[in-house]
């Protein structure tokens, strides 16, 4: 393999490029990114970057020295528009098609938007530019913020807005946020963090419309599906993401909520692999930081081998920082698994819980208990599967 194109210049793409070099690939390496920025870390965007305690320079995923070592050609501000598998080329929105022997798909995901018009002051949060625009709206004095969606991103944004002194209301269509991720009992505990910090949470109601005023309309209120109207100066829509696969629609690659891959991140074509939020690996599309980095190693090995010689089976892990509480979760929780508190107390917002099924631990959850969580996560990883091969 003499050339590899990595499509996507965020965490998964950068880690794939690193892994290719680490595996000895010394050919032409081209990294295409639709944003103008060098790879940066997204998790702080909803947290410390929004509150202003972390600056843009601290988000960089690679320093100048490492970037030089990587010896890649960077096509930033360039969008991939198609994959011509017959010609072995990636089509770009400007410039000539990029031919490559191997392709890494790492185009991530795009925030879902509400139907209907979005007046100024309405935000989604995925990119650095998104976060800068939102931060600009949050640093002009106290405002009324309505966050739509009480998932992890929504909760983190609400927490950051509350920390900045804003009046915050969170609207969630489901009766209980985080239910699919954490189950009823633990979801209730985590969801209670909003009220602890003076943030109003309205559940079981969708959004009918965003209303604006002025010639260049700016948001003034959020109309809920039950008829209520919430005054709003800033609206943040955090209702999930969809994998960014539109550009692959006309390619021969099977797509199904992501690029369909085997357990080794290899697509239907042995010279095309997919990593990160865009990849549906062995039937699962994880939107986790850790998965993206782990998959990159496996995908690079398989791409260079020309077949699946390694698989990704690591234990899913994610974390969220909200209201000064670090929530950490690892494992594969079934819908009927029962949580059990091992130490600490939910009332103190500091505890460790494991989920159990037929006497076996399937997952572990911690609030502000990073050290025992680490130990249990390790034990769980050892007990449930061999390490990534």
């Amino acid at each position: 393999m003499k050339s590899v194109a990595v499509i996507g210049a965020s965490l998964a793409g950068l880690y794939a490029a690193r892994a290719l070099r680490a595996e000895g690939f010394d050919g032409r390496l081209v990294i295409v990114g639709d944003e103008h920025h060098r790879p940066y870390d997204r998790p702080p965007l909803s947290k410390d970057f929004l509150t202003g305690t972390t600056g843009q320079d601290q988000l960089a995923l690679a320093d100048a020295e490492e970037t030089a070592e990587l010896d890649a050609e960077w096509l930033l501000g360039t969008r991939a528009t198609g994959l011509d598998t017959a010609a072995g080329a990636v089509l770009l929105d400007h410039g000539r098609p990029l031919t490559a022997d191997g392709v890494v798909l790492a185009t991530g995901a795009t925030p879902r938007r509400l139907p209907g018009p979005a007046p100024a002051g309405t935000h989604t949060l995925r990119t650095l530019d998104d976060a800068r625009a939102l931060r600009a709206d949050l640093t002009r004095g106290p405002v009324r913020v309505v966050v739509i969606g009480a998932g992890f991103i929504g909760a983190e944004v609400a927490s950051s807005c509350a920390a900045l002194g804003h009046d915050v209301t969170v609207v969630e269509a489901a009766p209980l946020p985080l239910l699919p991720q954490l189950g009823d009992e633990m979801a209730r505990i985590c969801t209670a963090l909003h009220a602890d910090h003076g943030v109003t949470l309205l559940t079981g109601t969708g959004v009918a419309a965003l209303h604006g005023a002025g010639a260049d309309p700016r948001v003034t209120s959020v109309e809920l599906s039950d008829g209520r109207r919430l005054p709003a100066d800033v609206v943040v829509v955090g209702i999930g993401v969809r994998p960014h696969t539109d550009w692959l629609a006309s390619s021969a690659l099977p797509l199904d909520d992501g690029v369909v891959c085997d357990a080794g991140c290899v697509t239907a074509l042995p010279n095309v692999v997919a990593v990160g939020d865009v990849a549906r690996v062995a039937g699962v599309r994880a939107e986790h930081w850790t998965s993206a980095t782990e998959q990159a190693t496996v995908a690079a090995r398989n791409l260079l081998a020309g077949r699946t010689v390694a698989t990704h089976r690591a234990l899913p892990y994610f974390w969220s920082d909200q209201y000064g509480v670090r929530i950490q979760f690892a494992g594969r929780r079934g819908p009927d698994d029962t949580p059990r508190i091992l130490e600490g107390s939910p009332d103190d917002r500091s505890f460790l819980a494991c989920y159990e099924r037929e006497g076996r631990t399937t997952a572990v959850l911690a609030l502000n208990r990073p050290r025992p969580f680490m130990r249990h996560r390790r034990d769980l990883a050892r007990a449930t599967q061999p390490a990534t091969t």
Binding site: Y15, R18, D41, P43, P44, D48, T54, L61, D63, E65, E66, W289, T290, T293, W319, P370, R371, F373, M374, R375, R378
Partner: protein
């Protein structure tokens, strides 16, 4: 010289964070004591909460790993070393000898 705790209160495999500025983590790695800056050089996480294995500590957040003897990162995502600080034990008490900024182990 900063007192940490009694040696008996830091058994092998354990770690403790002291609230200096910046904070310092002290480890008992199989009987050998080490002190390093507590905050991971990659992102805000406490290495005292990390996973200790031999002379390496793994960051609890992103699995960056540091060598306690040198402070050097042994794998990504960390690229910069943490500072190391000398540790002594006197009369059963652990002390950290805080190294100033210019004395980095990097």
């Amino acid at each position: 010289m900063i007192p940490v705790c009694h040696l008996a209160d830091l058994p092998a495999g354990e770690s403790v964070r002291i609230d200096t500025a910046p904070p310092i983590a002290v480890f008992n790695a199989d009987g050998q004591l080490y002190a390093i800056d507590d905050t991971c050089t990659h992102q805000d996480a406490s290495l005292a909460d990390g996973w200790l294995e031999g002379c390496l500590v793994e960051c609890p957040l992103h699995a960056a790993s540091f060598d306690l003897r040198t402070g050097a990162p042994t794998c990504l995502p960390a690229r910069r070393a943490v500072r190391t600080h000398p540790v002594t034990v006197e009369d059963g008490m652990i002390y950290v000898h805080h190294v100033a900024e210019e004395g980095t182990a990097a």
